[in-house]
């Protein structure tokens, strides 16, 4: 929905449509509402892909130039969220997914937390129960998508180039290229980065943050934005706890200090410990979506 005027889903707007011009005291300056309600072109994620390539590269982008001119000097009231464009794409993705009853999770963590291994294990565990597809985000390489495909699940790799996170527009393009079945589960493995992906809604049902016990238990405090943005935390590699000084209770307490509503599961992608609870949560959380579709 437009964050300024609430004028619909998946549309970006400039300014308030019913705003009253506000003038400042300065004689040569004035506030005025932006006249046009310039929406982004109607955005449809499942657009036909020109090619069925399995890698998308967002490493390059054009720089545009404008010719400056001079006349009156004034203050334009804009009131637009900096992330409004991303949020518009995310809302359209969310609607597109909901129409098909597809339950999407955005998996976020620092590099090396075991996201891909956990994902492979989850796909294996869900086999026969529900189809799973994966969107893999990394700066470079197809390595992770290949690991996912080895499990038999379809995977599309997005390479962000120099980018540090996936954004909703990238995912929108990926949705059009993946052959997703209705009522399925879509796992989006974000770029390994505990900072930037926190700010970018992709249209997922939930962000799932993965923290492994080989990291510091104070990580939720050091990187609070991500733990605040997530609904679920998977504390991974718990099979290693006997060999480490990591205090799991403390890590969970720190995470809940940031986000009191956080659901936490202690899991091991290696031994399968805790997976019953994790899979049970997926089943329960996706059930309403699958029913409504």
């Amino acid at each position: 929905m437009c964050t300024v005027c609430g004028c619909g889903v998946g549309e970006v707007t400039i300014g308030r449509s019913a705003a009253t011009p506000r003038r400042s005291d300065a004689p040569t300056r004035g506030w005025k509402p932006v006249a046009a309600h310039a929406h982004a072109p109607d955005h449809a994620p499942p657009a036909e892909a020109p090619e069925a390539a399995e890698t998308m590269d967002f490493g390059s982008g054009p720089a545009r130039a404008h010719a400056p001119g001079l006349s009156q000097h004034e203050m334009l009231r804009i009131e637009r969220d900096i992330l409004g464009k991303n949020d518009g794409f995310a809302a359209a993705n969310r609607r597109w997914l909901a129409e098909r009853g597809i339950f999407a999770l955005n998996l976020v963590s620092s590099p090396g937390s075991g996201k891909t291994t956990l994902l492979c294990k989850t796909i294996e565990a869900l086999r026969g129960r529900v189809p799973v597809a994966v969107i893999e985000g990394d700066q470079q390489t197809e390595c992770d998508a290949e690991r996912i495909r080895a499990t038999g699940a379809p995977a599309l790799q997005i390479n962000t180039g120099k980018g540090c996170h996936l954004d909703a527009a990238m995912v929108a393009q990926a949705l059009g290229r993946l052959d997703l079945s209705g009522g399925s589960v879509l796992m989006v493995e974000n770029v390994g980065n505990l900072v930037c992906p926190a700010a970018f809604d992709l249209g997922e049902a939930h962000k799932v943050v993965i923290l492994s016990v080989t990291e510091g238990e104070d990580k939720p405090l050091k990187y609070p934005d991500m733990f605040a943005a997530a609904d679920v935390m998977l504390l991974n590699k718990v099979d290693l706890l006997p060999h480490l000084a990591f205090d799991a209770d403390k890590a969970v307490a720190f995470a809940r200090r940031i986000n009191p509503r956080l659901t936490v599961f202690r899991v091991s992608a290696t031994t399968g410990e805790g997976f019953d609870d994790w899979l049970g949560w997926i089943d329960a959380a996706r059930a309403p979506m699958a029913r409504e579709a």
Binding site: A38, R64, P68, I78, R80, L83, C196, P224, P260
Partner: protein, 120 residues
């Protein structure tokens, strides 16, 4: 460095506003950024300068208005001021605090030259 993406977001907003309003030059961009927002302002200032090069906002000043962080304390059942996401409630010391304001990142206004009044 998601500040680069944020700066590009600002550029898009400026360009779309320029298209709608027909102004020729941006002298200043006014942002509204909450104290709890996921952005490092110094980094954003650097990225803003880089990203605006070659656009009609090249060399534009960046003004940032901060918005104080506010959270809802579940224990007290009221809104309390917080400076960080990990801050306890200043009244009861509980960490059961959900941010309710101060997470926004918005382009509030543009100081421009040459805007054309539109006939409605």
């Amino acid at each position: 460095m998601h500040e680069m993406s944020l700066a590009e977001g600002i550029r898009t907003i400026v360009e779309e506003a320029a298209q709608a309003e027909g102004f020729g030059k941006v002298n200043a961009v006014v942002l509204e950024v909450g104290e709890l927002a996921a952005v490092e302002l110094e980094s954003l200032r650097f990225c803003f300068e880089v990203v605006m090069q070659g656009t009609l906002a090249e060399g534009a000043a960046l003004t940032v208005e901060r918005v104080a962080g506010v959270g809802w304390c579940m224990s007290c059942g009221e809104s309390v001021p917080i400076k960080a996401l990990y801050d306890p409630c200043p009244k009861c010391g509980s960490y059961q605090v959900q941010p309710t304001d101060g997470t926004q990142m918005r382009v509030k206004a543009l100081d421009v030259d040459g805007a054309v009044e539109r006939a409605e």
